[in-house]
Symmetry: C2
DNA sequence: ACGAGTGAATTGTTGAACAATCCTGCCACG
DNA sequence: CGTGGCAGGATTGTTCAACAATTCACTCGT
């Protein structure tokens, strides 16, 4: 399913790139990037007037964009009060990890006859993380780490799992930005990533799933320790 | 976690009932109900003008409601062409069942120390289905069946899994409406439901997960057989 | 039968207007 | 000192009207 049988499937998969036109979606893209980069810290209030003026779009269009991001849970909307950058509570983080366990470990354990390209994606993410670590660019290590987990979930071969995972990791980023030292957080996971990747490559999915479970337990604890 | 420790948590959980105010959301509620009842068959085009006139809301508000439903995947939005009731393709259904397997089976297998109330919810759904079947109200059997699976996923104790599941089942309803004979479709599953529920009640989660896996395989095949 | 072109219909987006609601600061009162 | 109204301003919710951009259906000529 990674290598489409017909050229039509290939083009169909490119369709979203075409109608990338709606202003509201482009506005949402811009805001999403800012949100994920951490430029808009959680709790920030986004006034319709100011944001509209800054982006030179009408209030109505802006509201459409807000709706999109609210539905992605990057913003929260309080009636008659406005939209705010979401602040994740402790229970939110716990919940995120709970569903991650379900999706990631489930995808890994249920894996069988995964196309080579998917396994390669996992390995590539690991290498990218190690390379970035060698260059001490910890921000890149973070994104590589996310790509690693995205690739693990992608073993399920389900577009919907992919999207859920993408959204989920985006939310987690909101929590990560609250963490002062990126390095100490991400580095210890590099070795684990490689271990899991090799288990996957060897087809030992059950073992990989177990390791991943441990991984998530540790990561969750560490994230929660930061309050 | 079912019985909140503090009364504040209890009230917090009631908060969504309060700000039930936005017109756009109420419009979305109305449309959603129609969609799920099957009154608006897949492929139907919803013109902004007509829908707006029918519901007596402005075009802008209606568009906000549309955005919501598009994000829930009940409607699809084609740029400059309008919104349509989604028609599920075969690959969509396959994908839905793939993620159902992950969530439901994962929730069941990973279950441990689930509060009694959650197990009771599962049993209640089973009984409701059997009662409805005895009265030959097949529509009710269908909704009871959905509630059963919702209750299974709820064993994970994750609000987010609950919501994903809700949305997922809503989508599947779009496919169900295409099926002519509700009775033949749902009835054979009643026995399976009871079997799974009893395994869950006895704490034999692994066995329950296996049965559920079979269940989903059969159901998927049958749904796909209808084209 | 086929392609180009024209015009009506629909959506995309904006701006302005008004109602409803929230927030702030002020003041009186116990 | 704390509490409880009570304006007033600011922001959001919603509607309306207008215009630009695009699609669709139809006609026409070849």
């Amino acid at each position: 399913m990674d290598t489409p049988d017909t050229w039509e499937e290939l083009l169909t998969s490119d369709r979203p790139l075409l109608d990338r036109a709606s202003t509201a979606e482009r506005v949402a893209d811009v805001l999403r990037r800012r949100l994920l980069e951490g430029d808009l810290p959680p709790g920030t209030r986004l006034s319709e007037e100011n944001a509209g003026r800054a982006l030179a779009v009408s209030r109505n269009t802006l509201r459409e964009a807000f709706r999109l991001l609210v539905h992605e849970r990057l913003l929260v909307h309080e009636f008659h009060r406005g939209v705010f950058v979401r602040v994740l509570s402790v229970t939110d983080v716990v919940d995120l990890y709970r569903i991650r366990r379900l999706l990631e470990c489930g995808a890994v354990r249920a894996a069988q006859q995964v196309p080579r390209s998917r396994v390669e994606a996992v390995e590539r993410a690991v290498e990218e993380g190690e390379r970035s670590a060698a260059q001490h660019s910890w921000r890149e290590v973070g994104t590589a780490n996310m790509r690693f987990h995205q690739a693990l979930a992608a073993l399920a071969g389900s577009p919907r799992v992919d999207e859920t995972m993408r959204q989920l990791l985006a939310e987690l980023r909101l929590a990560f930005h609250a963490m002062p030292r990126m390095r100490e957080f991400h580095q210890p996971y590099l070795a684990r990533n490689r271990e899991i990747a090799e288990l996957v490559a060897r087809g030992e999915y059950a073992a990989a799933g177990d390791r991943l479970d441990e991984y998530l337990d540790v990561a969750e604890q560490q994230l929660l320790a930061e309050h």
